[in-house]
């Protein structure tokens, strides 16, 4: 959530007006000033609860059997002992918070820092003095002193627990986001083929974030004006001041249409992971931004637009990529055959405005590459983009036909991380707006 300085000032003024006596009212007031969308309101609610959680500080001295034997405060006692013995839980809570501020617990970043912070807070509160008193009480032989020592030890361990849970809460509050951030960075740049199932969940949420960004960025349908056609109605309206004289001319504007995209994806095992994410990406884009037709291939070519258009893309993808139900033959990848089939059945749908994306590693198993067909497609479409999950250095090695195919591609890129995919989609959407 981004909060500007002006909003901070407003928040201060709001607190000034509302006061902080009533927790719910304070929450509502801050929420209307700081959270500016329904998602942000959710985030705000969670953070507010965490930050202002009522400290359940149980009384360290409770549960001691002999309530009549209240410990007396001795003059020689340290401040902490005094606090434990005669202070209220509120005083104790205040003391912990002061100590926390003094050691800057807000700077906590990693889970292994919790231990040191606990120690520092306790030290600041005067743990040394408490320990000293306990020792002294143990040292004396009288039963009253022994009891005192026991009680103080109990109180000490309870205090330790309190501070530990306090630091834990601070950790979730302050450090949670930074570790998440580091993990996210790593995932964005990780090779998709090396990811494991357990990372997929996080990947989906990262993709959602990217999509939201892309959708809002390109949602503005920019108008270009095609000069040459006078918009008569607008011109007259604009020239009322001049009594209808055509002084200030207005022209007809043409809105940019959504790009037409055809995606051909190789679903053989090697390319599987990237395909899944690319399709997720493309289908997550707003319907008003792109028109997509998708195909999958291995030994033959099958159209899957219908499957993906209806319903949840994630599920459909999982089904598709296992090869079932779609009619794709999962044998040896044969690019030549695939291109030939495309030319035969679907070349008519490729117009001068279509962008064709091919996602595959160009490994043809030494079959016939059929580059002529690719050339035909290349000539017909607006542009042909080849996304290869392998790294550039191994293009052309072994049975890879990449070098034969790349002259007939407008763009041939290495694509195996989320970052690459994002850039490709940016390029797709941007290009069409120019």
């Amino acid at each position: 959530m981004r909060i500007s300085v002006a909003e901070c000032v407003d928040a201060m003024r709001a607190v000034d007006l509302v006061g902080y006596a009533d927790r719910q009212r304070l929450g509502e007031a801050l929420s209307s000033v700081l959270a500016k969308s329904s998602d942000e309101k959710e985030v705000f609610k969670i953070t507010f609860e965490r930050f202002f959680s009522s400290e359940g500080f149980p009384d360290p001295c409770q549960g001691i059997e002999d309530a009549s034997i209240r410990l007396d405060l001795r003059a020689s006692d340290s401040t902490l002992t005094g606090l434990l013995v005669s202070g209220t839980t509120a005083d104790l809570a205040m003391s912990v918070r002061e100590a926390a501020r003094a050691v800057d617990v807000a700077g906590i970043r990693f889970f292994f820092q919790r231990g040191p912070y606990i120690q520092r807070i306790l030290h600041h509160m005067g743990l040394a003095g408490l320990d000293h008193d306990i020792e002294m009480a143990h040292g004396k032989d009288r039963p009253a002193s022994q009891r005192r020592a026991k009680i103080l030890e109990l109180a000490r361990s309870r205090l330790f627990e309190n501070v530990k849970s306090f630091v834990g809460r601070q950790y979730t509050l302050f450090a949670g986001s930074s570790t998440e951030g580091a993990l996210e960075e790593y995932l964005r740049n990780a090779r998709l083929s090396e990811l494991e199932e357990r990372d997929f969940h996080r990947m989906y949420s990262i993709i959602q974030k990217m999509l939201k960004h892309l959708n809002s960025l390109y949602a503005r349908r920019r108008k270009t004006s095609k000069r040459g056609q006078l918009n008569f109605k607008r011109t007259l309206r604009a020239n009322i001041a001049f009594d209808g004289l055509l002084f200030d001319r207005r022209w007809k504007a043409k809105k940019i249409d959504r790009p037409d995209i055809i995606v051909l994806c190789d679903v053989s095992r090697s390319v599987n992971a990237v395909v899944r994410f690319l399709l997720l990406f493309l289908y997550g884009l707003n319907q008003t931004l792109v028109k997509i037709r998708s195909f999958i291939f291995c030994s033959n070519l099958v159209e899957v637009t219908g499957i993906l258009d209806s319903g949840l893309v994630g599920e459909a993808l999982a089904r598709m990529l296992s090869g079932a139900e779609t009619g794709v033959l999962m044998g040896l990848t044969d690019y030549g055959e695939v291109f030939r089939e495309f030319e035969e059945k679907w070349l008519d749908t490729v117009t001068g405005k279509t962008s064709v994306i091919i996602l595959g590693d160009a490994r043809n198993n030494y079959g016939d590459p059929q580059t002529e067909v690719l050339k035909t497609i290349y000539r017909r479409c607006k542009r042909l983009i080849w996304l290869n999950p392998e790294s550039r250095s191994i293009w052309g090695t072994g049975d890879s036909e990449m070098n034969r195919y790349s002259p007939f591609c407008h763009l041939a890129k290495e694509c195996n991380t989320l970052r690459h995919l994002e850039r490709v989609v940016h390029a797709l959407l941007q290009y069409s707006l120019n």
């Binding site: 981004r2 500007s4 002006a6 909003e7 407003d10 003024r13 709001a14 007006l17 509302v18 719910q24 009212r25 509502e28 007031a29 929420s31 209307s32 000033v33 959270a35 500016k36 969308s37 329904s38 309101k41 809002s216 949602a219 503005r220 009322i240 001041a241 009594d243």
Partner: protein, 311 residues
């Protein structure tokens, strides 16, 4: 007038009570936001599903304060001239024609072009004075002496240029007209912006406003709302009705029924003088609640079960 407003907005409770008196039942959060908006002098951006009471809030606020409501409905292609001000071109031309003789007299006594022009300069601003200015909603809102409630409805339907244009007004409550100068608000209007969330508002606009999200109400509040708007309904029927509607909202519909539709349905049932909910009656009156055929089909499948549960 100001003092009276200050009294009405003294506490959150007084606002809540006042709104209730004019017939608008709402959650405490809304009252807090109104309270802040009045004291911080900021506009309120209200978002939420369709029919949940966003426009009603502005109307209720106007009734509560006893101020007139100026409404500006936004749509794509809305531009400055329709929203801010326009010159009365016809009147200007007419007056020039009528006063042509007079103008001749003024200029006639001078010789040469320079002197004539200088003479006319004295009367320069005559045809561009406030007499010839046609104020549109925004300018009207600024010119009211006692203050006014300004409702900018469905601001997400307007385009980016309009949003950018609104920014100046919303932050400083003033407009600059090239010929006349800057017009400041005589008293700051209370501004409501409503949005159906079809697109994201720009950051700059959001920053200047307080944000309020009105969700679907919980059963208790909805019962109160129906009680206020349709008093002729028995309590038993009311409870059954609300229970049914809440169940309908949980289904995967194209458009979930909103509060407005609940009230319409309650009115229909009141007109039919029914006492208790039964499946046939529900089936017949379902089209007041649902506005898409596919939704009606979906609910009809579950009708028996849901009516049983509501009873």
């Amino acid at each position: 007038m100001q003092r009276e407003h200050a009294r009405k907005f003294a506490t959150r409770e007084s606002i809540l009570q006042g709104l209730q008196e004019v017939g608008y039942i709402c959650a405490g959060e809304i009252a807090t936001t109104l309270f802040l908006a009045y004291h911080l002098e900021k506009p309120i951006l209200v978002e939420g599903p369709a029919g949940v009471g966003k426009t009603e809030l502005a109307k209720a606020a106007a009734a509560f304060l006893g101020l007139p409501l100026i409404r500006l409905q936004c749509y794509e292609g809305l531009d400055e001239s329709k929203v801010l001000y326009e010159w009365k071109y016809g009147k200007q031309l007419l007056y020039t024609q009528i006063l042509r003789d007079k103008l001749d007299d003024i200029v006639g006594s001078s010789s040469g072009l320079t002197e004539s022009v200088q003479k006319l300069h004295q009367y320069d601003d005559m045809f561009f004075s406030p007499h010839f200015l046609e104020p549109r909603p925004l300018l009207k809102a600024l010119q009211e002496k006692d203050g006014v409630v300004l409702l900018v409805d469905e601001v997400d339907k307007a385009d980016q240029e309009f949003e950018a244009f609104l920014l100046e007004i919303l932050s400083d409550f003033q407009i600059s007209i090239p010929e006349i100068g800057t017009i400041k608000a005589l008293s700051k209007p209370f501004v409501f912006l409503t949005s159906n969330n079809t697109r994201e508002m720009s950051e700059a606009l959001k920053r200047r406003c307080l944000y309020l999200f009105i969700p679907f109400p919980d059963p208790k509040m909805e019962r109160e709302i129906v009680r206020t708007h349709v008093p002729g309904l028995s309590e038993r029927l009311r409870t059954q009705l609300i229970s049914f509607i809440q169940q309908v909202r949980e289904l995967d519909l194209r458009k979930a029924p909103s509060v407005g539709e609940t009230i319409d349905w309650a009115r229909t049932l009141a007109l039919l003088h029914t006492d208790i909910l039964n499946p046939d009656l529900v089936r017949e009156t379902l089209n007041t609640v649902l506005k898409f055929q596919e939704d009606i089909h979906l609910v009809e499948d579950h009708l028996q079960k849901m009516t049983q549960k509501a009873l």
